[in-house]
Symmetry: D2
Subunit: 92 residues, 4 copies
């Protein structure tokens, strides 16, 4: 039940970018940056993480809710797309 | 693609309770209640609405992602449950 | 510690609009509208409520954090504006 | 307009813990962990980041909204506490 290789690379790239953003918060605090700057950086990580979660949830819906080898065509893709719209709205 | 009768009644009861909560905000404003009271009431509606959304999403996952008459047993209920856990966490 | 008259009218107009939106969810459920429609309407109320909360919090910051008659000019309006930016980002 | 030394150390400890959590997501993806594990780890970072933001906002409210040397006692601490309650509820 793992991700495809292509998905894995995309997700890893996102996570590594996020690590860089967390390190930027660390540096900002070490360098006594103002609250405003720090709050702005935290909001950035939050957005990045919401994007990561949305992508993982999307993979999960497309790949794991239905075993498409055993049950080809069983996943209603319109209904899955509607679900993803809601998830994206709430993850923002 | 509608809800079951039982689900419909549960959802309607939730929505009507939510309407009552919105009316309480209206009265609080009319009666010049303080910000604290109003903020508290708004947070209450937000919680109620998150609960409503979680329930509708749950129905949607269980009933519409897979047509269980055409594809019995195709929905992986463990994977669906994991998805619902994430949705509930983010709707809180 | 109440809102100004002008603020009160603006807030009341928002709350009444929100009540109308909740009633639209109620009707959608009574009329057996599909999940997609209901999820869309709930997301709309959520957005409206976030806007209401942001406005009440803004009033609260501007009017109650500092008693401007006793302490004129004490509220740092730049810092208050930065705070409101964060609140708005997270209420979305 | 910087944080106190004590605050700075607390915030840095939080950020470093968060970096460790992001690295755990990275390792989980590299080791082909399942979606469920990855979603769980992401939700953990999200909680940690909400806690960090709440703390930075709290510092901001206590230290920057009012210059307490120029305007001692001007910040209404009850009103500030109510504001922080709302922020914490929404950051969860």
């Amino acid at each position: 039940m793992t991700h495809t290789i292509r998905e894995k690379h995309k997700l890893l790239a996102r996570v590594r970018r996020m690590k860089g953003q967390v390190e930027a918060i660390e540096r900002a605090l070490e360098n006594e940056a103002g609250c405003e700057r720090v709050m702005h950086l935290i909001a950035g990580v939050r957005g990045a993480m919401a994007g990561l979660m949305a992508e993982v949830v999307e993979d999960h819906v497309r790949m794991h809710l239905v075993d498409s080898e055993k049950h080809p065509g069983a996943l209603n893709t319109d209904a899955a797309e509607q679900l993803m719209d809601v998830v994206r709205t709430y993850l923002k």
